[in-house]
Amino acid sequence: MNADAIRDKVAIVGMGCCKFGENWDKSPEDMIVEAAFEAYEDAGIDRPQEQIEAVFCGAVYPSKGTAEVADALKLFGKPVSMTQNYCATGTDALRFGVFSIACGLYDTVLVVGFDKPKDRGVSGPSAVTTGVRGLPMTPAGWFSLCAARYFETYGAGREDLAKIAVKNHHNGTLAPKSMLKKEITVDDVLKAPIISWPFGLYDCCAQSDGAAVAVLTKRELAKKFRDDYVLFKAVTIALGPNPQADPSFDFLRWKPTVYAAQDAYKQAGITNPSKELDLAQVHDCFTLTELLTYEDLGLAEKGSAKDHIANGTFELTGELPVNTDGGLKTFGHPTGATGVRMLYENYKQLQNKAGARQVKNASLALSHNLGGAPQACGITIVGLP
């Protein structure tokens, strides 16, 4: 593999994101148009039909597919394709957009991540109904798989998870487009009804509707759009075995994150991630996912997450702020949009436009998604030129 094939070749010159939430009064078309036109305006694009050469979409919940995006934005006569990769769907759509520019085929492309799960009339994800063993299923049940053994091995517990929820709720209050804007306490988290042990209500993220859009162009053209563009350092996807069946699974880490991090750091030339990265958006579908991700990404030694949580390492004012916009937990989690939304936050942070949640002197940021049982991880690393 040529680890240098991506680094610094593709620039983000415009981004948009609609307000995430239970958008009962908005269609997918409404959300896509809001996010895309914000991105156009941000990039200074006024003739998208001429300036956008290809569109890469990501969505998980049943939608009309590529036509939903092409029809909404009237982007015809050009390639529009759609990818699906569990909760890493948005990141995978970005990945294909980056590839299409890095290989020299296109100058400027649009990446659209969106999902509208709240039109289904149920809370939580849809159930698999094809196989006998597919039910009952809850992602909370899957993602709690590591809890019992991790807690016993490293002496962590629900209180450590609760502090992550408190942090992300606080950060969400500072993000104008987030779904939930409510400060909570550790006590609130511990007293909430249990969904799937050790996860109470506040340990679980908010499923929501939403759309986020990125305008990517090749580095040589970036200056024509703006001075404060942001460059891709790495973008990758890694699959791991189903932890429910993997005979060598140790219940202390999610393998897909470990695999994807190795690749992403190699692409970006990072050798000491906890020191080199300035901030990260990580997949906090459940609080334990965020905790394990600190360690699986090498931001903390295996087993040390609870000490870092106690010391505030990953808080907005800490050494390495994580989920600065509130994360999936409070910003919301429209599956296909989430990876692109994370990039939106990193882009704004690197441009010093993150308002009350601004991280000082940020120049290198990571985003991370983990989906499936979990089996798929997507990572991007972006930085200033």
Partner: protein, 472 residues
Amino acid sequence: MVGIRSQGAYVPMNRLSLSAISGGGRKAGSAGGERAIAYFDEDAVTMAVAASTNCLEGFDRRIVDGVLFASTSYPYKEKQAASVVAKALDLRRDVVTADFADSVRCGTNALRSAIDAVKAGSARNVLIVATDCRPTAPRSALEKSFGDGAAAFLVSDTDVAATIEHHHVIADEIIDVWRTESDRFVRSWEDRFVVEHGYTHNTIEAIKGLLAKSGLAAKDFAKAVLYSPDGRSFAAVARAIGLDAKTQVQDPMFGRLGNTGAAFAPMLLAAALEEAKPGSKLLLANYGDGAEASVVQVTDAATALRNKRGIAWHMQRRTEFADYDKFLNFRNLQVSDVDRRGGQGVSATVHFRDRNEDISFHGHKCRRCGTEQFPLQRVCFKCFARDDFDEVRLSDRIGKVMSFTFDFFAGSPDPPLVVTTAEVEGGARVYVQMTDVSPKEVKLDLPVEFTFRKIHEYGGTPNYFWKCTPAR
């Protein structure tokens, strides 16, 4: 010699035209023809009594030692049908009675049991009667292919008209045609799946097993009596066995009678015996949750069966019935009574493919590296070898809890649902629910054993899988 001493049949007089079911005129694709329909005062039991009466005509009824009743459409869930039939036939008070049910194969199940009982000497004359009047949704394909009717045999150790010489049986677990307690109508999965992986595959396997056991070949049979789910599928079975479908297969009477369920193969056997030459051999094959096949040797006494009120007599006696609304009225139905179930539930084809792991709880052991894994894999988790596994049964091994959660959100009727990843002795990991346990008992490395349970009832059917429970 033990075998069939007498037989009788019953087909209701009324024949409903298939075009009436289609909604009047001949729609494209709707075959002509008709099916037998029970009158408003008939059901599985009345037809059984009629067929049995025809079977016992000329016999002293005091010789009957047992009555075996076979049907999938007897109206009671609890209360025996054989005792009603015995009472209506005015049989001895010390007659042995039993019901066979739940599969359209139950008619030949009962026939075999009667033969075994007489062979064992516990009875000398046993009456078996197979009958069905199966409920179908108005205007459905099943309504057109089904028919109503019954057949009865007196199995005896004297004066037999036909003996059953060999028998081969296959038991199979498949969701192809079914009706639960709460279903109004018989339901079925997609017909091509039902025919290919249910009917054809199992029937051929049973017949081939029979030929191997008996040393006989297709040419040795004067006629093959083949159950068929429709008017075409038997031809594929005949072809696979080497039978000439035109001359060697008993007419299944689609378009005249219809598939009479549990009574179907017995009625076709009765029809074949009415015409059979003494000394000839018949092949009998029946299907339903597996299949079975027998060699029927016709004796000189068979000519006595021709004078009975059997199939030929009933097929002659027919009255055309064209009033579809009246037919629905007989069954307390309206055209609008469609099957209102939301979904079909768990995919029957996925169930079919997964039955070794879901029902038999098999895992794979890699022949190269020895790693055990679940569910069944094509490529080894550890050494990546392709298709080089032995299936191993995990259900009777112990295991230990590697991880657990208490899921309050999973919709358990008794929350929380205890969900674990267990390591089965040998190394396979299984994601299973834990049952018969208090959350307080659950801890890492807890020894567990496995128990076969309902995992959920999605689609209104019980869906089975294994769960773990603390080792006792």
